[in-house]
Amino acid sequence: MTSITANHTAQDNQPIAGLKAQLRRAERMKKIKAMLLVAPLALFLMIAFVMPISSMLWRSIDNTEVGSVMPKTADAILHWDGQGIPDEAVFEAFANELRESRAGGGLGRIGRRLNYEDPTFRSLLTQTLRGLPATTEVTWTEELIGINARWNETSTWLAVQRTAPTVTDRYLLAALDLERAEQGQIAKVAPNQRLYVEVFKRTLVIAGGVTLICLFLGFPLAYLLATLPTSKSNLLLICVLLPFWTSLLVRTAAWIVLLQSGGLVNSGLMWTGIIDAPIQLVFNRIGVFFAMVHVLLPFMILPLYSVMKSVPSTYQRAAVSLGAHPFAAFWQVYVPQTLSGIAAGTILVFIMALGYYITPALVGGPSDQMVSYYVAYYTNTTNNWGMAAALGALLLIVTLLLYMVYHKLVNQKQLVRS
């Protein structure tokens, strides 16, 4: 009781300041409570989503294989000026650490890394290891050159030197068909080894083509849905939403069934006489376009529909009554009002199409595979994780840039019709 009375007197003395402080405290508490509610999810995503992706991105510049297995060699060869061959100290450190690398799988790691520099390096290492003398009282320069004359070549040691620093740009450069030439300047790789610029171009062409077709098909349909009476449009909306909710694999399988040489589309075309023999519609670019447009079309229609729903038809009618041609009224009055929906749908579809992997893998041919396929390929098949990470990093950068544009343009709740 006394404390409350004391409190009251204190407040009476400075009523305004006390209230302000209380309000501030209450506001602060509210903020802290709000942050505490968000914290579990933010923490969960930091650990299970952001950290995995960041550690993958690190692999695109990670060059620690040789440095961790052969620390002394790496240290010594970094001081070499790149002329002739390194001095005896480097040879000695290399020979000793090569011998020790047999334990714990170190040899495999440096072999794989050095093989990226020169595909014959792994066998050079194993041959050298077999030839190493048991004694230590030798001149290592002579010994190594005696085992294989390639240790007398500058290029061999330059390759080792390139693997010595902690980070490298070789994977990121390689993902753009570039490499470091002997003198260290950036140059294009030999024309017969160029691959990834083509893959990126192909990815952009497929994603862009799919987006344009989706816009071309989605705009009229969204317009119809938005202008029909609700009872009718709800019925038609089911035709959009049912495929939307249907498993991607089911739809992909259905397209294979439809487009295969004995499928309905080919039989239909032959029956009408347009073609005489079945044409190849699947396991090539056509199949990819059909399946991807089908999967992504609802993502174009739904944002367009929700924007068109809120566009009053009165402006268009006013334009016509003022003498505008109906097409001009549509094009100059109606379409500009739907631009936010067009932007949202286009970016959304394009972002999703960029990362496609499953659909092209199932209905495309070898020349229809997009960047994602190569990321998966390097991770699973060749274990070239630096390359997988570099391609992934470039794909991620493009996606995130577009996502930022999208985030600025679209209110998040438009994304999902609920």
Partner: protein, 274 residues
């Protein structure tokens, strides 16, 4: 849009061209879903029309086959757990985001939504390496965590949308009547946002039930989920058994669609009552 009685011939032609074009697009959307259903009842082992005979042998085959049933069981373990995790985390976060402004809110919202936009293969490769270090590779736990991550954005978005119409004075009213914050949440807030929570949950469930890429990377044959089974089936030898499973999945999506529509109506009713 309807045809006015005074429309000119060109307008009439245009009107019908437009209608037919829209009809063809709707056909394009629906045909793949519909075309696969009859094939699942075919006697022949080829997926071609015209259908020869009626049989349920492909359904018998999937229901008696080890791999199909195991993968279905795995998906029925992983999807609900991932959904529950996504619903709890996502609902709390959405309530927090709407409760007050705090520094970095926009950035945090962008983070919470980002699993939806980052290409799946990048998520998959990242988790593959990261989970390998944590010993979560080839485990149900790892798969549940991964699918929860992918489902969370949907819950955040849908609950966020429901909360736009929520009157926060109700929380104050509840508190002033002596209810604890927890009680206020369960008796005042939750009943009103439940349509949003549930529809977000449905999205999360559907995502997990249809997710191939991440599962391909982080699951071993023991945790093989239904989508992986479908994927390898389509890849190796596409048989009517796939059509049978596809038909069951289409049935499931019809149910999902109906539940979603019910939730939408309910949510609309709740917001017009106010």
């Amino acid at each position: 849009m309807s045809l006015q009685p005074y429309a000119s011939p060109i307008e009439r032609i245009w009107f019908w061209v437009f209608r037919i074009f829209c009809g063809l697009i709707l056909l394009f959307l629906m045909v793949p879903v519909l075309v696969i259903i009859p094939l699942s009842f075919s006697e022949s082992s080829f997926l071609t029309y015209p259908i020869q005979g009626f049989s349920l042998r492909w359904y018998e085959q999937i229901f008696s086959s080890g791999p199909w049933m195991d993968s279905l069981k795995n998906s029925l373990i992983v999807a609900p757990l991932a959904t529950i995790l996504a619903m709890i985390f996502g609902t709390l976060a959405a309530v927090g985001l709407n409760r007050a402004d705090f520094p970095g809110k926009g950035l945090i919202l962008a983070l919470l939504i980002s699993p939806m936009v980052v290409p799946l293969v990048i998520v998959a490769v990242g988790m593959y390496f990261f989970f390998a270090n944590l010993g979560l590779l080839n485990s149900y736990t790892g798969l549940v965590i991964a699918h929860a991550v992918l489902g969370v954005p949907f819950v955040v978005i849908t609950v966020n949308a429901t909360l736009q119409n929520f009157d926060y004075n109700q929380i104050r009213a509840g508190a002033s009547l002596g209810a604890s914050p927890l009680r206020v949440f369960f008796t005042v807030v939750l009943p009103q946002i439940i349509p949003g929570v549930a529809s977000g949950g449905l999205f999360a469930f559907a995502t997990s039930f249809d997710e191939v890429v991440v599962a391909l990377f982080i699951a071993s044959p023991t945790e093989r989920t239904l989508p992986i089974q479908m994927f390898s089936g389509i890849r190796e030898n596409i048989s009517p058994a796939i059509a049978a499973m596809a038909t069951l999945l289409i049935l499931m999506s019809v149910v999902l669609l109906l539940v979603m529509e019910f939730l939408r109506r309910r949510s609309e009713k709740l917001s017009t009552h106010r």
